[in-house]
């Protein structure tokens, strides 16, 4: 067994543990180094992840696998976390939520995500899911002085536990149907074509439900707006970047590898989930007055768009889901970073009206925010547009006309609320200026990387799409 293939996870685990200790013993000054240390550990993990790119290794008696899929999605998760951590300190401090544990929790959560992405056994799927989720619940409640934050944490925890139950039950039923927990074994004995046992399909659907919770697909999305809004905004950025991607990754791995893709049942149900998520997410986003909550609903809608790729299936479409998530990650982390900076009060989140006149007082921030929103809305030439365009095109080619129509209508509806912020920022005059907007180096880094990424991924998509589709190639 080549343990070095597992080194990304090991680094994260040891790093998290050490940060916990460091946090406990360090002085106030020492604590200010925590973000930097976290970034270093994340970067190190990323380097180790890419060191053996191209190899395929099965570790711990078939529990964990190292493959291109792991590297691609692991990199997405690490990148998202890196960007979310980079600007976190001033933002958390401003919301009175700067606690050293946050950084150790981030590392543990990312450890869970990487485990989840590399899982080759249902036990690891569950374990990774829990290691990822438990720190998230704590993070959501990080603003201990705020009722909303604590409420968000509690709700997230309860709903998460509820969903974990579904996932676990699904794993149990699949075990009952196939007699194995190894994903590879399941893939081997899973019937293709006809002859599904109802026990196995029910188990598969329960697993899909458990994962649909993590990616916040309708109707399992209720927790997301509350958790996103209640959590400190820097944490929300992390929520958008990490768990959603990891949830999607394992969903892709399970559905396209373990469970036969030709199964008409799961196809129709995922079709429905996609259509519902797009529609409900967009329509609810329309009525929001808080920018943060609007983005939370937009996250639901984007889960729907990405699910379209899953419905289509095949190397190209599944690869495009990875590409789509890359675009979503860059734009949403960037957008949350800007919102975290523009927010002024601790209790009330940023509303559209608060953005009025920001185009004058903070032109740079508003401009990049506009770029991110344009990408989320899917307006050319940035990443969001290209990703949407290709996914819809694939869906059309495979005959999912209605799904594309629903998606297109939704895209049009979404432009309204995405462009509301820029409209308020540039065209209305604000009543006051907000003098204490602090632009830290970390924030600049996040915004520059996210903005450049959004543009580059958009104007030269070839490389990224190739990378993404080569990561899922071997499932088929």
């Amino acid at each position: 067994m080549n343990l070095s293939l597992f080194s990304p996870q090991i680094v994260l685990g040891i790093g998290g543990t050490l940060l916990f200790l460091f946090e406990a013993f360090a002085s106030e000054r020492g604590r200010s180094f925590l973000p930097t240390l976290t970034l270093l550990i994340l970067a190190l993990s990323g380097v180790l992840m890419w060191k053996s790119y191209g190899e395929i290794g099965v570790l711990f008696s078939g529990m964990v696998v190292y493959d291109r899929f792991f590297v691609f999605f692991g990199t997405l998760v690490l990148l998202g976390s890196f960007l979310a951590v980079s600007f976190s300190r001033p933002s958390l401090q401003q919301q009175d939520a700067f606690r050293g544990e946050y950084y150790a929790l981030v590392l543990f959560s990312v450890l869970g995500m990487t485990l989840l992405i590399s899982a080759a056994n249902m036990i690891i799927v569950f374990l990774g899911m829990e290691i990822m989720s438990l720190p998230l619940y704590i993070m959501a409640a990080m603003r201990r002085g705020s009722e909303r934050s604590v409420e968000a944490g509690a709700k997230y925890f309860l709903m998460g536990a509820f969903a974990s139950g579904f996932l676990l039950y699904g794993i149990a039923l699949v075990y009952g149907a196939t007699g194995t927990l190894s994903i590879e074994e399941i893939a081997r004995v899973w019937p293709r074509g006809a002859g599904f046992s109802s026990l196995g399909v029910a188990g598969m659907l329960l697993i899909v439900i458990g994962l649909a919770f993590k990616i916040a697909a309708v109707p399992f999305h209720m927790w997301e707006p509350d958790a996103y809004e209640g959590a400190p905004t820097a944490v929300t950025a992390f929520f958008a970047a990490g768990p959603k991607i990891a949830g999607f990754a394992i969903l892709l791995r399970l559905v396209s590898w373990a469970f036969s893709f030709s199964d008409p049942v799961i196809l129709r149900i995922v079709w429905m989930l996609a259509a519902l998520s797009m529609t409900v997410g967009n329509f609810l986003a329309l009525t929001q007055s808080s920018v943060k909550r609007m983005l939370a609903y937009s996250g639901i809608a984007h889960a729907g768009y990405a699910l379209v790729g899953l419905v289509v299936g095949g190397t190209v479409a599944i690869g495009l889901v990875g590409y789509y998530l890359l675009g979503y990650l860059l734009a949403s982390v960037g957008a949350f970073a800007v919102i975290a900076t523009l927010e002024k009060s601790q209790e009330r989140s940023l509303s559209f009206a608060d953005c009025a006149g920001k185009g004058k007082t903070n032109p740079g921030l508003t401009l990049v925010l506009t770029l991110f929103l344009i990408s989320l809305a899917g307006i050319p030439p940035v990443a969001g547009f290209v990703a949407k365009f290709y996914i819809f095109e694939q869906a059309l080619q495979h005959g999912f006309v209605w799904l594309v129509i629903i998606a297109a209508v939704n895209s049009i509806v979404s432009v309204y609320y995405y462009l509301r912020t820029p409209v308020y920022a540039f065209m209305k005059t604000g009543e006051e200026t907000n003098p204490d907007i602090r632009i830290s180096a970390g924030l600049v880094f996040t915004l520059v990387v996210a903005a450049l990424g959004t543009i580059i991924v958009g104007i030269s998509p070839e490389y990224f799409i190739k990378l993404a589709s080569s990561s899922v190639m071997w499932f088929f």
Binding site: A202, L206, I209, P219, M222, F283, T287, Y416, S460
Partner: protein, 638 residues
Amino acid sequence: MLNTIWLIPVFPLIGFLINGLGGRRLSRYGSGVVACMMVFFSFIFSLLAVLFLKENSYHIEVLDWVVSGTFSVSFGFILDPLSSVMVLTVSGVAFLIHVYSTGYMAHDEHVSRYFAYLNLFVFFMLILVLADNFLLLYMGWEGVGLCSYLLIGFWFHKDSAANAGKKAFLVNRVGDFGFALGIFLIFWHFGSVQFPDVFAAAPEVLGAGGGLATLICLLLFLGATGKSAQIPLYIWLPDAMEGPTPVSALIHAATMVTAGVYMVARCSALFVFSPTALLVVAIIGAATALFAATMATVQNDIKRVLAYSTISQLGYMFLACGVAAFSAAIFHLMTHAFFKALLFLGAGSVIHAMHEEQDLRKMGGLRKYLPATFLTFAIATLAISGFPGLAGFVSKDEILWSSFSSPLGGLVFWIVGVLTAGLTAFYMFRLLFLAFYGKSRFDDTTAAKIHESPMSMTGSLSILAILSIVGGWIGWPEALGGGNSFGNYLEPVFAQAKEYLPQGGHHAYSTEYLLMGLSVAIGVIGFFWAYRWYISESPAAERIKERFPGLYTLVLNKYYIDEFYQAVIVRPLIGGSRLLWHKFDELAIDGAVNGLGRLVRAIGRGGALAQTGYFRAYAAFFSLGAALVLGWMIYLMR
């Protein structure tokens, strides 16, 4: 070296970004230096690229953007002799005008905005001339239109400037509409918008005859008449003189307005398949040349004279295109860029010295006050009037000769061209005499304040003056012992077009000498006429005015064309729009759209009701969802 040609347009873009985003932090001086430097880099890179260009055409794909089915858009650039000439002319003249602007705009409050627009213009113009496909060309086309609009209305606090900007924009829309339709047609029939593909397939698709070639070419030409201010869409150009004078020089004389000529020349491989379209081009060009020249003879605003002169000269270029003398058109385009930019910059120098006075009737005798300006202006006047040996003589003569000798040309075109040449000499010398000769028609306080322009301005003037003299020598005609190396240089670009043209008979050099002599003679007549009316017997002009008052008023008021458009097109359009707005838009469209919006929001609000915030509700919803999923599964699997 050649694979860096994508940098040529990138430099001005960087300049635009620096001045546009950080302009407030730069000093006035800094803005100008950045802008000039960026354009200079462009020029250097263009020069190097052109020198390194060995093959007939160099094609580089910069970006592969969207590939979907049969439709693919890539950003690519083509460098061939034609775009070489354009790139050099654009970046070179633009650089000189940028330098000039640092002096001219030194006292303006919004220097950085000015240079940002100017750089953006250069960026789009370079994209336009380097584009390897119709879409990219169109992007540059629209981009220069936008910059033209922004710069005409640069002093937007003046109503006339803001209105002129709007007028230019709207008139250009009409042309662009045709252009866009033309591009759609091309894509429809050729399945591509890439120049190499389209031109290669042209004989096959258009050669069969029928109306398609004519339709496409006329639509493209409609676009050209808008951008290049030809009949019937020329009316925006004189008003565009509301912008700063260097802008008039760069955009409305030397570069942007020639985009139409460039486009027609670029599409020569399409135009040759439609003799009808070529005939229309030639007629419109000749008519515009003559028509605009007559209007130029009576204008009193120094810049308006030059504006009509520009329209007239552009007419020449289209005349050359129409008789399939594309290289002659491009040649004149280049020399015209030199001397017309010089004329405008000289006029700007005069206006600058006179403190924003543009009325010729309030000038006179400026020779003493502005010696450098006078000298360069006089050279430009000689050049445009076709004084033998200067740039204008060589290029104009080639056009006149082609319009006579080309199998598509004819004596009528030549006569119109020569008449125009005479008128040109007349109105240009009239301008020169009124401004620089005679008695000063301003008071002493004004006279005391007149000063020669700074080095940055006179320096640019001198360089352009030199170019106006020697610029034509590279295309010295064979009849006068030259090699017409310019025409040979452009040969490969128009080679394909040549194949499908009827071959004309050979004309003797003696005919050419005769025609040349005649045109020079007519220019001299124009000169003497102007001399007699405005110098030796200065009241003569007044007498003519009194003798033919109707004709004078008609020409002075530009044949009432603006009023005609106002009555026939603008007013009915506004009335109709108003009707549509009140009756149709407000009731039907707004009602439907707002209703839809309200419906959507109502649905959203209904959905939000489910989001109660209670955990139990969430759990119940979750369970319900799961139950539905499983129930559906059981239904599907029964």
